[in-house]
Symmetry: C2
């Protein structure tokens, strides 16, 4: 951290959400605080300032909250990944595994181009399923994934291992 | 516009999406272009620079893409409005009318406080149902809605009338 703010102070723990036994890390107090939100975006962008990022890719909905400001911070474009049926142009669909079953996301076919440097952004790295699928899709499009950045990393859930050899950069770890 | 960029050049028209007869205004080419996205955020913030905005409120998912960067641009907080069941803390629920039936959104009970100056942001003003409901909820919480800002305003759909006396500020009109 390059700031005197301790971002962890702005995360609210909510037990048993969305189901019993889960400690949910609520980021809304951080978002509601202008300086804390600004420091988060500055710190998330820091390791990638010299990476010549062409495009930030982030999945709806919370990924947009960090992905869009990071695109402005890094002077690059923003490409949204959405749930099926939401994107109006031709899409590339990709499936990823959940605890039970699979889920599907879509990206526009012209979202990223071969050779572009792409940074994948989300609020939280947990099991890493979404990000892993996203990285594979991007690499399959010939893009160069320069990194994956998160506000929070839940260390015990295996996300870092799942997205390796990509590194998981995060500001807060539990 | 304070820039030589014509933002309209970055909007892609997609006929018959999501259903026949609808001309969908696709904002993804604008988002993918760093300079165009940056100019959009600067211009959307312009009328509100002296409004002492405390908090930006925006609804998922596309509202987040503009609301979050605007919060950073205006040095204020960001409060997300989400679909039911997504926010982990106590929420205030609000319903709004669609063409057929109703939809429901939620905001955290501590999202905004009485007396705060709030700017409501979305990518698109169409019929204005979501924004109208949002403004009512905020005013019911004692907040002071200082404005409503959009990238695009579809003039023929009655949104401006629906959110009056709030003014609809937008960068691109169709």
């Amino acid at each position: 951290m390059t700031s005197e703010l301790d971002l962890r102070d702005y995360i609210r723990d909510i037990p048993d959400f969305p189901k019993p036994g889960i400690m949910y890390r609520d980021i809304t107090p951080l978002l509601a605080d202008g300086p804390a939100f600004k420091v988060s975006i500055e710190c998330m962008s820091e390791p990638f300032r010299d990476a010549n990022v062409d495009v930030i890719v982030a999945a709806e909905a919370r990924g947009f909250i960090f992905g869009a400001p990071l695109a402005l911070e890094l002077n690059c474009g923003f490409v949204p990944i959405r749930k099926p049926g939401k994107l109006p142009f031709d899409t590339r669909e990709f499936k990823y595994e959940l605890e039970y079953g699979t889920d599907t996301l879509e990206m526009h076919v012209d979202g990223v181009s071969a050779g572009q440097n792409v940074l994948v952004v989300d609020d939280l790295l947990a099991t890493g399923g979404t990000v892993e699928a996203c990285v594979k899709l991007l690499e399959g499009s010939g893009a160069n994934v320069v990194g994956c950045a998160f506000l929070i990393h839940l260390l015990a859930l295996g996300g870092a291992e799942r997205i390796a050899p990509q590194e998981a950069f995060s500001l807060i770890q539990y």
